[in-house]
Symmetry: none
Subunit: 224 residues, 2 copies
Amino acid sequence: MTRILVADDEPQLLRALRITLRARGYEVETAPTGAAVLEVAARRHPELILLDLGLPDLDGIEVIEGLRPWYDGSIVVLSARHDPDDKVLALDAGADDYVTKPFGMEELLARLRAAVRRAAPAPDSVVVTTDAFTVDLAAKRVTAGDHDVRLTPTEWGLLEVLIRNPGRLIGHKQLLSEVWGPAYQQEFGYLRVYVAQLRRKLEPDPSRPRYLITEAGMGYRFEP
Amino acid sequence: MTRILVADDEPQLLRALRITLRARGYEVETAPTGAAVLEVAARRHPELILLDLGLPDLDGIEVIEGLRPWYDGSIVVLSARHDPDDKVLALDAGADDYVTKPFGMEELLARLRAAVRRAAPAPDSVVVTTDAFTVDLAAKRVTAGDHDVRLTPTEWGLLEVLIRNPGRLIGHKQLLSEVWGPAYQQEFGYLRVYVAQLRRKLEPDPSRPRYLITEAGMGYRFEP
DNA sequence: GGTGGGTGTCAAGGAACCGTCAAGAAACCC
DNA sequence: GGGTTTCTTGACGGTTCCTTGACACCCACC
């Protein structure tokens, strides 16, 4: 889960942001002062810091300068000041974006998504591992035991959908729709064939599946 | 030198931006249409694209969506539209920042600096070596065994994309898009011809490739 | 114990894809 | 302008992959 540190000294705004961000699935930390920002950021390593420039104890620029030497997440500044010079100073100090109050919540959320996306870890570390096999979603590479496993495009498409939803049951129709297209929602036979092929290539004991689970009458599930 | 692609269809603004950016030490490319943006971006790999959403031929969102699958630099949107919905759409399509016209030049420059700073690529090792051949990405030189290998520009472009993503599967369309340009995403025949040529020049046994691997129906992979 | 729906397994035909070759067109370089 | 390199295009055979159908199995229910 993405962790965001919200630094603001207005209780109402802080509360609104916390509720909204939590509802969007972020993990939220808060800090009411500049000193607290530095302390919480060091302790919790948030992926993004939403920083009000008008904190009571420290100048906002000083907070950014205190963070940047070691902090490599995104910093999005929130400020009531519209002066272009303030924006230039904050951005050049190391902020990634600058939003002026009052702001539209949807725009702020979109800017947060963009900032988080940018700071996302190296594009090739989307790896899912089990005791039996490893799947690298970015490189489209699968290894079982010590050697590579060769998957066909359809096998890969099916595996990818299941793995991107770990532990969750995916219905027959949804699976067919996502891998073969919406027109194939009745071709249940395909699923049987390809799930069997995946199991033969990935499961230690294909006849007793441990990771690619059948839910009779409903669909399949990837069990991490 | 940092290369910026400026996409706008107002000659005056384009001229002002070009002069200002050149004065600040940037290398500036320009593109008056969406199609030109895709073409120039593929050919020149700018570190940042400053994109007007109101280009005459393509919708701005479409341009962003056409870039993002393969382009990993920063995209800063410039737009006359203040509607929050437009901002959300552009940011979620993959833009990194959104500046509305009219804008202050100092603020824009600060935002560009922030965007470039973020996208600063990790200086990757410039030489890649395998048991069979060595590729120097900076010097554009390839040696196999003990003597140099001559590559045509297209062969080199293809090899470079594969080598910069070691172990990673690159899809047909992405390869075509990066080497020939986005308009060639259907020319699968080119890939067959040029991969075969690379293998003939680099692989110890071209009919049984060891480094330039085919993934049927998906793409190719450089295996270090 | 029989029945039927849902599932796993296997194999074969056909479609899609790939490697190879070669020749003409285009671009490039004296 | 001539010669060379490079790119594009098409055809062919071999390979991989998708689709399809037949059949066995398991389990719940009758």
